[in-house]
Amino acid sequence: MTLETFRIDDRLIHGQVVVGWGQPCGIGFLVLVDDAVAASEWEQELYRMGVPPEMDLYFDTVEQAARRITEYRDDRRTGMLLTGDIATMARLVEHAPGIGAVTVGGIHHKVGRAPRLRYVFLTPAEGEQLRALAARGVTVTAQDVPNASPVTLDALLAGDGSG
């Protein structure tokens, strides 16, 4: 197996990731890409405590993740890479060629964001960021849990939060 999923989720590591995806998909390692978390031992410890001992957890800045992406892809275990926002994922896509698909797993309500799916709220600028990712050849879908059907980018951006 390899690094299979590139997920945007503003909760980063939480139940849906560790249990919802981790157990049925046999995820062996997680890569959390976030410049602030990579600089904070306390934040890293917070996230480590939520991860079972059999699952490795790596913390990278965008630059570090771009340098290590081949190493992660060569890993024989199934892995998931997470960013907390679209901009961070877009920077990673720019610096680490070959990322073919990105999943929006959860972007929640904040002032200025409109509901698109039950678990995705976007500002107009964030919608454009996703379009820009797609324009680079990345397949962008939304999917919160493994047994849900992926939602295409067009359907996501046309959504009103009821889906």
């Binding site: 503003d10 909760r11 980063l12 590591i13 939480h14 139940g15 990731v17 560790v18 249990v19 306390w42 917070l46 996230y47 405590m49 939520g50 991860v51 079972p52 972007i107 929640h108 309500h109 904040k110 039950r118 678990y119």
Partner: protein, 126 residues
Amino acid sequence: MTSERRRAVVAGHGSFAEGTISAVAQIAGLADLFVPVTNTGLSLEGLEDTIRARLRESGARIVFTDLPAGSCTLAARRIARTDPGLIVITGVGLPTLLAFACGGDLSSATERGREAIAQVEGPRDP
């Protein structure tokens, strides 16, 4: 009577908090000890703000959460980092909340929760 008792925030996924508090009310009638918080629709930041607000409004100094790896636990632990004396207890189910509601101290309520987990099997086929 309950106004003299310690209150607690219960935070969890979906309707976990409302559901378990409703169950406590049905069994022991002490639901007003608990303040529910759901993570539904909230970012980690939004969840942290919501739990912080419920603590402030209720005067609660305890947060019960459902899942150690869950966003509610992460948010509560972030608050506890800068709020000395705040206690976060995770992996909580109905037995723990009931024991707390019925006057148990925190350690015995937690122990009740642990003890309540059991596997029961029917007779095997001959």
